[in-house]
């Protein structure tokens, strides 16, 4: 059972989120039409693990880039213009580009991994959360928890409260 509360004002929404958190509800989602740093602080989201993906991708890309340029030059040795076979300055340009390419691709991968998107199942959602409402979703509530969550949300001044059965 999920409890959904929609707020018209940011401050009410944040107050409800804090109260829920303080009352021991851990599985809450805070939906907002724009990024809110305060909401992220309530959930205690600090540095995102995405940055590790970026770093790993960039390092891997750099290594792969140089390995590709140098390796393919050795597979079929064709001297050009009196240059060495493993010529550093041009290969560093390739390394540079591949560093960025892999960095970007791994950051994308990191985004999908960390955010849990694409979402394969329907999750509790109100379309107004993407327009002008701030929505608190308490997931996995059972028994008296439902009533307690509902009370906190109502006290904070929610416009609309709903109960939704979750897909398992």
């Amino acid at each position: 059972m999920a409890v959904i509360g929609a707020f018209a004002y940011e401050e009410d929404f944040l107050a409800a989120a804090e109260n829920l958190k303080a009352s021991g509800f851990d599985n809450i989602s805070l939906l907002s039409p724009l990024p809110l740093e305060e909401a992220q602080e309530v959930l205690g989201l600090g540095k995102s693990p995405v940055r590790r993906f970026s770093l790993a991708g960039a390092i891997l890309g750099g290594i792969c880039g140089f390995a590709m340029a140098a390796g393919t030059a050795l597979v079929f040795i064709l001297p050009t213009g009196g240059r060495t076979i493993i010529t550093l300055p041009p290969f560093l340009v390739i390394t540079y580009e591949m560093t960025i390419l892999f960095g970007v691709l791994f950051t994308l991968l990191g985004f999908h991994f960390v955010s849990g998107l694409p979402a394969w199942r329907d999750k509790p959602y109100l379309p107004s959360a993407n327009i002008d409402h701030f929505v608190v979703v308490v997931e996995g509530a059972a028994g008296e928890q439902v009533a307690r969550a509902e009370a906190i949300i109502r006290d904070a001044g929610a416009d609309e409260i709903r109960h939704v059965e979750e897909d398992q």
Binding site: Y9, E10, E11, D12, S29, L30, L31, S32, P33, L34, P35, L36, Q40, V42, L43, L45, K47, S48, V50, R51, S54, M68, T72, A73, V75, F76, T80, G81, R83, T87, P90, F91, V93, I94, Y96, E97, M98, I100, L101, G103, V104, L105, T107, L108, G110, F111, H112, V114, S115, L117, P118, W120, K123, Y125, A129, N130, I131, D132, V137, G157
Partner: protein
């Protein structure tokens, strides 16, 4: 930030989505026209050229590179402002970026695609162009990574990938807004496009971090892309091209023409999509100031290029310099100086900087100047290389001119398709610039 009062959150959604969901006959007429022009002016001559050979263009033995390549540089240059400017402004946290960055990035993407098309038009045997990609093949032969053209292949594919990801990831929350506002097939499509975005704090948090990293990667990438394009020229030993100044020269010129391009695109968006509420004087003013700064840097580098050619004093360089300054293409050269060095100085006056119509004219003049700049680089250097016996002349054929005109139609077509598929103003970032909703307000 807002010239006509602050809109509410719901109004932002409504205004921006209306440009996508409501399509009048005017749009279809315009789209049909640009597609027709692209087909007749670009693809038909290209098809003819594929049949008879590149000889259909005006290039010859003394100038084997022509308008195709100069247009390639122009389009790559135009692509430079969007993603680069958006990324720099994102990292430096400039609020005026938010209303204009989406369409600026789209400009990047589509001018890059147009530029890539010019490579296809340029090469002699386009049906073998995949040989320049590092794809394993039965010959066991790989491309030559020592070649500046390979740098180009790597840089442009990376840039195309990175800027597509950059614009797509920035649009995911807005795709969700489209999904919620639509029905039927469109709803199903945007459900997929938006990855099931709900706007939870965790999603925003991850997107914010990922987006900042994309921006951090894109800035050095964009600088490297145009440096590499300049090395196609500067790594040759051709007098007039073999300058160390070329990389900064090209990068500066690219951002310059790209920023002017943004002004032109902003004008059209504001006029035809009725974004007067969102794109205001502050944007025009900031872009105008940026243009003045860039034009001054551009002029400085140009003077320096002439100076170093003259100061070097070799007969080859002097001959190339003479051909550029007082040769057949001298009128074009001085036109470029007028449009790119002197006309932008008009923007020092606030009256001009604050007028949309005047800025439109200036921005178009700058881009005409930049188009000729690239043409001059290509057309005046090769016919004056080293051996006087091989001195020649290059003039574009009607096929090249037609394809040049057609490329603008291709760009316009892609842009017109874009405005119906992606919200051309970032909905959620405009909301960030609004005052937050308070109970007491």
């Amino acid at each position: 930030m807002f010239d006509h009062g602050q809109p509410s959150y719901a109004e932002v959604n409504k205004d921006v989505l209306a440009t996508m969901l409501e399509t009048g006959p005017k749009y279809w007429i315009l789209l049909g026209t640009t597609m027709g022009v692209a087909g007749i002016c670009f693809f038909m001559p290209w098809f003819y050229q594929l049949i008879v050979g590149v000889g259909a263009a005006g290039m010859n033995r003394n100038a084997v590179w022509g308008t195709y390549l100069s247009n390639f540089i122009f389009w790559i240059g135009l692509s430079h402002s969007g993603t680069l400017l958006s990324a720099v402004l994102h990292i430096t946290n400039s609020p005026w970026r938010k209303a204009i960055y989406r369409s600026a990035e789209a400009m990047t993407l589509f001018s890059l695609m147009t530029a890539a098309l010019f490579v296809m038009v340029h090469v002699g045997r386009v049906w073998f162009v995949h040989w320049s990609f590092p794809i394993p093949n039965q010959m066991g032969l790989w491309p030559n990574f020592r070649s500046p053209l390979m740098f180009d292949v790597m840089a442009i594919t990376t840039y195309l990938t990175a800027s597509s990801i950059f614009i797509y990831m920035g649009s995911v929350p807005d795709f969700a807004a489209v999904r919620d506002a639509s029905t039927g097939l469109r709803r199903r499509l945007y459900t997929i496009f938006s990855f099931g975005w709900r706007g939870t704090a965790r999603e925003w948090h991850t997107l914010g971090w990922a987006y900042t990293f994309f921006a951090v990667f894109v800035v050095p990438l964009a600088v490297s892309v145009h440096s590499i394009v300049s090395w196609d020229f500067a790594l040759s030993i051709v007098p007039g091209l073999h300058h160390t100044i070329f990389a900064p020269y090209f990068v500066c010129g690219a951002i310059y023409s790209g920023t002017a391009g943004i002004v032109t695109v902003m004008y059209c968006l504001r006029k035809f999509l009725h974004f007067e509420k969102y794109i205001g004087q502050v944007h025009l003013d900031s872009l105008g100031k940026l243009l003045i700064a860039l034009s001054l840097i551009w002029s400085y580098i140009n003077i320096l290029e002439l100076f170093s050619s003259w100061y070097g004093g070799t007969s080859f360089e002097l001959e190339a310099l003479k051909f550029r300054l007082i040769g057949f293409y001298a009128p074009l050269y001085w036109e470029m100086i007028l449009f790119c060095a002197f006309v932008p100085l008009l923007m020092l006056s606030k009256k001009i900087r604050w007028s949309w119509n005047k800025m439109l004219v200036i921005s178009i003049l700058i881009n005409i100047g930049m188009l000729t700049e690239r043409f001059i680089i290509v057309a005046t250097s090769q016919p004056r290389k080293f051996l006087p016996d091989a001195f020649g002349f290059y003039f574009p054929s009607w096929i090249e001119i037609s394809i040049t005109i057609g490329s603008f139609a291709i760009f316009a077509t892609l842009f017109l398709i874009f405005i119906k598929w992606v919200p051309s103003i970032s909905i959620y970032e405009v909301k960030e610039t609004l005052k937050p909703l308070r109970r007491d307000a």
